[in-house]
């Protein structure tokens, strides 16, 4: 696969993830968009380590996977707790930290 195609796919995925974070109001879809941005970064890691024949990038993909799993566990726990206090999953309604 060409490096240019990989870069383009990765950038498009990252842009879609940013749009999701900025526009979606459902906290869970918001979180899915963050995961999508992590996946875009992973794709770049794999593409460039293929390009230069160096597998350090593949090792970093593991670390990104672990960070994504940890982030999903903690983030979903936070969302569950927020839902208990506010009874909504709309991120526009989460304003507990507004002074």
């Amino acid at each position: 696969m060409d490096i240019s195609l990989s870069i383009f796919i990765s950038l498009a995925m990252f842009a879609v993830g940013i749009i999701g974070v900025l526009m979606k109001r459902n906290a869970l879809v918001f979180f899915l968009s963050i995961e999508m941005m992590l996946n875009a970064a992973n794709l770049l890691f794999v593409a460039f380590s293929r390009e230069w024949g160096n597998q350090i990038g593949l090792v970093w993909v593991f670390f990104v996977l672990v960070v994504a799993a940890a982030e999903a566990a903690v983030g979903l726990a936070i969302i569950i707790n927020l839902f208990r206090t506010k009874q909504v999953v709309d991120v526009d309604q989460y304003n507990l930290l507004r002074g």
């Binding site: 060409d2 993909v61 969302i79």
Partner: protein
């Protein structure tokens, strides 16, 4: 590289971008997570194309098998809360949204056009690239301390998730 595989890769990338756009376009969160599952599977196929089959398998196991299942659990848990979001309408104007969409697509097209001039990939890969053996050696010998650190991070994340998820903190 033959033309047929090239076209297949372009179709794969097109489907991947389409399914990732589907994640933010569909209304129900369960459909969004199914679109994300499709994205992950297509991404695994791309990893196989990029000579990293072990990463592809890990991707399917960890993302589709673990993270997405937690997501679906939480979505099922909040079933009636998702309808409440529809009650508060969005305040953004449709003209601005369409302008943003057109700008986004135009900048993606410009990017694709400018990426065309990049040189082709090096075709000769070192022996054993991307296999479990060499990856394991790199992970457990060269990256031993970062690996231990990430184990610690994961432990802290598990304890933190349990603590936050308790009924009263």
């Amino acid at each position: 590289m033959s033309t047929a595989t090239n076209i297949a890769q372009w179709i794969l990338g097109f489907l991947l971008i389409l399914s990732s756009i589907g994640v933010i376009l569909v209304r129900k969160p369960i459909h969004a997570s199914l679109c994300f599952l499709l994205t992950l599977l297509l991404l695994a196929a791309i990893y196989i194309q990029l000579a990293a089959p072990f990463i592809a398998v890990m991707q399917v196991i960890v993302y589709a098998g673990a993270i997405l299942v937690i997501f679906v659990f939480v979505i099922v848990l909040f079933q009636d809360a998702h309808q409440q979001i529809e009650e508060f309408r969005a305040k953004s104007s449709p003209i601005l949204l369409w302008t943003a969409a057109v700008t986004f697509l135009a900048s993606l097209g410009l990017l694709a056009w400018s990426l065309m001039s990049l040189p082709a990939a090096i075709q000769t890969l070192p022996a054993g690239y991307g296999t479990v053996e060499t990856l394991g050696k790199a992970l457990y010998i060269d990256f031993f301390f970062p690996f231990e650190a990430i184990i610690l991070l994961f432990l802290v994340a598990i304890v933190g998730a349990l603590y936050i998820g308790k009924k009263e903190i």
